[in-house]
Symmetry: C2
Subunit: 359 residues, 2 copies
């Protein structure tokens, strides 16, 4: 399938982008022999995205739809086990294809479901949220949460193909757009400060990111992943903002407080910029300008979670080694350093900076 | 570590065998940096095998012991989830090593646990049952059951090393030795009929298999696995006896009837030898001699399970394609054919042959 408006971004990561990806997927259905096709959707993508996708598929024969509730609560072992049973009872076999149509929850959960059902069936991703387009659905991280421990269980498993259809963003409410911007801003902070400020202007102006910007973010992510798929070293830089961010997100999850992943990462970046200024010589002017902008856009008035609980979660983070906290910090904008040891006290100060603004 | 009595069998599969493997593992602990070591055992191996292993380890520092109940019931998602929580709460990180000490249940479950915890930590296997030594712990199939569906969830993941310490067999009750023989007899049927008859004599004489025989079986298995790790084609021949066998085992599991995996495979082989005679021209003399011997050793008087349930489970077997049953059958002893379509009626006749002896 060739088309002027479908770009395959990086062959190894298998990401296609553009207005023609629905037809590209239809061609894949025609050329590969799947015994059955299952679509994993949430309530929203079932209503808003799946009909658009189905209408474009002329080569689809037998299929089933699996619907989950929207939200992070669905990335749980209970939902996963129900889906294993659903696949079994609906006659999925080893040559079944799973098509994940949704945000990061659907692509993370669906990727893990496919990679472990009958020791692995093929899956493709149709990310429908901005965050999933630029982050979650690219790079083969799949998994579920274990209670408040984010992504504690999972595997690295590449999708057969990731199809990014930018028009799906039209269906997305603004808070989800803003949360998606947070991961893009992270790409700017770790790779290109001009890109960071460009995105910031677009976000402040209430615009959707341009197709070029979405492509830029996928490029940054895919390149890092290609270098280090299993996160031995280089890939860790994508975790900027995620040590503190995951702790905040996990606490909110455990306490029933609504918090989108991207918003938690934005708060995490606030604290990790602070630590970068304190510990790894991020210039003060950059620290002030970036945290000021992030605070204006992402700060929350009051979060009903305990500092102690945040620290407890942080101490169980996957990124730690031998009980020691390890963060990604910046020595300059666009220049991350991985594996920086951080003390419990420094982490507490970072949380204080995030929530109270003290320096 | 070099020793005259420790053999590394196939480098790619990383299997070590002999009386010196405990010391070889101790050397591995010294040379590799693990932050912590977790031992997964069942009640029996905790009592009989772990003390022997621990006594040999001078380089072991921080460790924890995770104990599960013995038996197939532990290969469940409930036990798996508890183990994820236990690892989390006891401070396991990405550089933790999991050491599986037990039979197939422990090595299957533990391999899956390690491969999915924090998207994969390292694990080694110490198989303690005959079946695990010659089959389960070699080849990277890991997983759990989903209710009565055997190994419905899992991944292919190679252990860092498999350490086969034959003295552990001394602690094994005879029914488990007999069940382990069944997988070895399968190796004979698919690869070498002389080996089949040699094992049969040893089993009838009530002997433990010799070290040479155990090594032969590991060799047969490891060679097939090396050729086709993910079971695209050649590896399927190791499934001889397992289509009908897994259905029998799954039914027993669902109905609370005790049935060891090896014993179920022996019954499955009875039925699949019958189908080989009927469908793929296995010579009548071989059919009569092999099934006669297996029936004498493994036939059960009465099993409290329904034929209908067996067929239902068979129709959901992982090895099927597009709803069609696919079996491994023999055209001669030592000459398997994979992907043979089998009708529901033929499967019913095979069950009848197994349980009623009708031809």
């Amino acid at each position: 399938m060739s088309s002027t408006s479908t770009h395959t971004i990086l062959t190894k990561q298998g990401v296609s982008f553009g207005s023609e990806v629905l037809e590209a997927f239809d061609a894949q259905l025609a050329s590969q022999q799947f015994t059955k096709v299952f679509f994993l959707v949430d309530e929203h993508t079932h209503e808003h995205c799946l009909p658009i996708l189905l209408a474009a598929l002329s080569n689809l024969k037998e299929f089933e739809i699996l619907e989950i509730e929207p939200g992070e609560e669905s990335k749980s072992h209970e939902v996963l086990i129900n889906l294993y049973y659903a696949l079994t009872e609906l006659g999925a076999d080893r040559k079944t294809l799973l098509v994940n149509v949704g945000g990061g929850v659907v692509t993370d959960l669906g990727g893990f479901l496919a990679s472990t059902f009958m020791r692995g069936i093929a899956f493709v991703n149709f990310p429908t949220s901005l965050l999933a387009m630029v982050d979650a659905s690219v790079g083969g991280k799949t998994g579920i949460d274990l209670g408040e421990h984010k992504n504690q269980v999972g595997v690295f498993a590449a999708a057969l193909q990731v199809y990014v259809y930018p028009s799906f963003l039209q269906t997305l409410p603004h808070p989800h757009i803003k949360a998606g911007y947070a991961e893009m801003l992270k790409h700017g902070l770790i790779a290109d400060s001009n890109y960071f400020y460009e995105l910031l202007s677009a976000l402040k102006a209430g615009k959707l990111p341009s197709e070029t910007q979405i492509l830029s973010s996928i490029h940054i992510k895919a390149q890092v992943v290609e270098e280090d798929f299993k996160e031995s070293a280089a890939r860790k830089k994508l975790n900027f903002g995620h040590s503190l961010g995951h702790a905040i997100e996990g606490c909110c999850l455990a306490n029933g407080v609504q918090m989108l992943h991207g918003d938690a990462v934005a708060l995490g970046m606030l604290g990790e910029l602070y630590l970068s200024y304190k510990k790894t010589r991020l210039p003060k002017a950059d620290f002030i300008k970036t945290t000021g902008a992030l605070r204006d856009l992402y700060a929350v008035k009051h979060l009903n979670i305990e500092r102690k609980e945040l620290i407890h979660l942080l101490l169980h983070d996957k990124k730690n080694e031998a009980g020691e906290l390890r963060f990604v910090l910046l020595e300059q904008l666009g220049k991350p350093i991985i594996n920086v040891p951080v003390t419990k006290k420094e982490a507490e100060q970072a949380f204080q900076f995030i929530f109270d603004g003290d320096e």
